[in-house]
Point group: C2
Chain length 240, copies 2
């Protein structure tokens, strides 16, 4: 049975302008791979309502699970929750359970739950909340879309919350074999190996080190014995 599929939607001008280097895609990709869920596509869009709505609709329809990152804070450029409501054709308003979380949090700090902060309690109808142990303001799950904050510490905490609820597949096992020759020297035998093991994914990731070419061959598959057989065959053709 093929693994469940996932996509990620990164929302934020700061990634597209080059101001911030992505951290959440890198984190999520590793976590999903370990859980046996195939991350098939990532999109990064700006803080633009039409772009966000279109991407949510496309990804939600095409993949088992979608994770979004960014745009659920209290400021004017945080429009993700409203876009999710639009994409699913549901209403959105301040919800009592989310408001209660924020009220208790800000009461304990002696801080006012003002209009801006209350925006973070706006939850689309029918969504369930995602716990935020770092800064309380919750994410939420709407059908197969998990909406999370963009601040990496909060994003990572929300991923940890949601991962056990997802149905994983067979964790993809991988074995890396380094060949200190250029890709052009190894491509022929490598292609033959890929044909011999159609159930495995065999990737070649070239590098240049101290002026010499080499490539890391990564063999991925759900069956560890098969991965090792393929690796052994590779090692016979290209001894270390």
């Amino acid at each position: 049975m093929p693994n469940p599929t996932a996509a990620m939607l990164v929302i934020g001008d700061e990634i597209l302008s080059g101001r911030t280097r992505d951290a959440n895609m890198y984190h999520l990709s590793g976590e999903l791979t370990a859980a046996g869920i195939d991350l098939c596509e990532v999109r990064v869009v700006s803080d633009d309502a039409d772009a966000i709505v279109a991407a949510v609709k496309a990804l939600s329809a095409a993949y088992d699970t979608v994770v979004t990152s960014g745009g659920i804070g209290p400021t004017h450029d945080d429009i993700t929750a409203d876009c999710i409501a639009t994409a699913f054709g549901v209403k959105i308003d301040v919800r009592d359970d989310a408001r209660a979380l924020l009220q208790a949090h800000y009461d304990s700090k002696g801080t006012e739950l003002n209009e801006a902060r209350l925006r973070m309690a706006r939850i689309p109808d029918g969504a369930t909340l995602i716990d935020n142990p770092v800064s309380i303001a919750p994410g939420f799950t709407m059908e197969n879309v998990h909406v999370m904050a963009g601040v990496p510490a909060v994003f990572q905490a929300m991923v940890a919350t949601i991962l056990p609820t997802l149905t994983g597949g067979a964790p993809l096992l991988s074995s890396t074999y380094t060949i200190n020759r250029g890709e052009g020297d190894i491509a022929g035998p490598l292609g033959a190996l890929a044909k011999e093991f159609p159930a495995l994914s065999i990737g070649s990731y070239p590098f240049q080190k101290d002026g010499k070419f080499g490539s890391n061959i990564v063999i991925r598959g759900a069956d560890s014995a098969e991965v090792e057989v393929a690796r052994s065959k590779l090692a016979i053709v290209f001894p270390e």
Copy 2:
């Protein structure tokens, strides 16, 4: 006049599996911003022909310029050039000019231009070559799509080659103002400022440092005087 628009397509299982952290998106986003070209969307897809062809078609139709990264090497998993040909409905074969570049390069190294390496001379009909000063095998430009290697050093060299040929807009100027208060405290006045300056993009990027909340407010626009006026107004409301 609005700035020209761009999109990026990152092709490669290694990003989606979490094996490699993206570097090319981060590099390109900064370069385009400096050139006054708005990077509006990024997609990351796996080494899957249907996914690549669909993304190339969608992005090429929606944006002025598309840059792709990855999948143009000599191994079996390098299928980008063929996918570009499919997306544009043109033929692809080994082309004499690309073959000549590779032949001269490998002759000088005393290396055989074998069948695998010759794959890197496969160029879609009608494309123009992009110079590769690092490892010779060229990228190419097909209509508004610039096809580049995934190895960061090669990708960066190809970006440097192609950037002067693109029509830039007014470089986006940005000014950052740090406020050592939580976003919830500043969101109201910030939203009012954004409404007062509709030509500017005003983003809030929260952080947590030494247990205290703060936010970097980034004001972006093409008119430096306007950016500075908005920053001054912000500094009056939230003095340092």
